[in-house]
Amino acid sequence: MKPPDFEYARPATVADAVSLLASAGGDAKVLAGGQSLVPLLNFRLAAPSLLVDVNRVDGLAHLTVDGSTLRIGATTRMRVLELDPLVRDLVPVLAAAARWVGHVQIRNRGTVGGSVAHADPAAEVPAVCLLLDAELVATGPSGERRIPARDFFAGFLTTTLAEDELLTEIRIPAQTARRWGFREYAQRRGDFALAGAATTVGIDAAGRIDEARIVVFGTSDRPIRARSAEAALAGAEPSADGLDAAATAAADEAAADDPRPDAAYRRVLTRTMVRRALEDAFGGSSDGHGEVR
């Protein structure tokens, strides 16, 4: 289990990184935290000719607020996302999600951009990006572009990034709906989720749900926005029956696309995760919480 040979480059600027990627004709890989890439290299399931190590590219590790948007540099470590008060304050569901990423040793090294660009269907940060309509900023040979999260995740480990584009920043609007829930389930803590759910909800002065967003992950080839479940909740007063119905709707929506033999189980699990995430969101505290075993 030793990686195959590759050339290694450590650019200092985004421009250099992009031109290195372009020079390799699709045979280069970006090395950020390496927590998903290096295992694949060690198993010799990946054999890029060139690794472009972006860990020392200037200006990619920031965490700032721009108006009501959190701007997260692509090489920001997952551990920072988990602990930084700014994240907890503006996008608490994201901080909670980050806690579910692998183990602390993985979060110390793994990057936010790496997780988003790797697009694992069970990954937490992509799910939150979709939930909150994040914008993903990428730079390619022809300059910068911003991609809405809904247009970014294209399938299993697949995004709409071009091979010579580098993801530089994740822009996440601060949560407007302050109630939130984040749940996922795996056989062991730290494993990839078998299914998970992220939600934010807002309640108006009359006690009705004025905004509900639900994303399900781990069930399909990418995270899924459960629109029908959201629609079922919008405008209603929160009730146990209502949450049940929304959870069932979300599970139906998400499970439809699950090709694996245990899809029936995932449907049950998804329903449970959505139900519990909603319960957390509507539970006493306006701050909600994710389940931590």
């Binding site: 195959p4 890989k29 998903s36 890439l37 694949l40 290299l41 198993f43 010799r44 399931l45 990946a46 054999a47 890029p48 790797h118 697009a119 269907p121 399938g155 299993f156 480990l157 697949t158 990839f192 080839d221 090709p259 694996r260």
Partner: protein
């Protein structure tokens, strides 16, 4: 592993079936396939580079049309590949069938896929994900080509 894919094409069933048997054109629709050469009318060699996210494995192999039934518009394609570097292997048998529909054809491709080597053991749905994606893109491409104006004439993959 069994992969079933079905899609509708706005094209004549016979033309669709003919397209499916034109290995060069179908190969042009499989992401990562290059260097296809004809050994005999039913046997082709080529290279398949599986590339999904960071996963990248190159297989060299052959594809053979092992049976065809023009009247039933059904054919079976067997393909086998060996990793260019490394000991892995892939074997697939695809049964393709075309049925006429009101506005064209419906195509079903049932693939029995066997992968050997490290990719096989590196679980958590990588293979499912990769295979599903390849077949999905192939189906999209076939449909697009069949429905494009030059579908009937062009014999070369782009």
């Amino acid at each position: 592993m069994q992969l079933d894919h079905a899609f509708a094409v706005r094209a004549d069933p016979d033309a669709t079936f003919a397209f499916l048997l034109d290995v060069n054109r179908v190969a042009g629709c499989i992401p990562g396939v290059t260097g296809v050469e004809e050994r005999d009318p039913d046997t082709f060699v080529g290279t398949l580079k599986v590339k999904v996210g960071p996963v990248g494995i190159t297989y060299r192999g052959t594809a053979t049309i092992v049976s065809r039934d023009a009247s039933a518009r059904q054919a079976t394609l067997a393909a086998e590949g060996i990793e260019g570097v490394g000991a892995g292997r892939v074997k697939a048998t695809a049964v393709m069938a075309v049925e006429p529909t009101a506005d064209g054809s419906s195509v079903t491709i049932s693939t029995d896929l066997a992968i050997a080597g490290r990719l096989a053991g590196f679980g958590r749905g990588i293979i499912d994900g990769v295979a599903k994606r390849i077949v999905g893109e192939m189906a999209d491409c076939i449909r697009t080509k069949l429905e494009s104006p030059e579908a009937a004439t062009s014999g070369r993959p782009d």
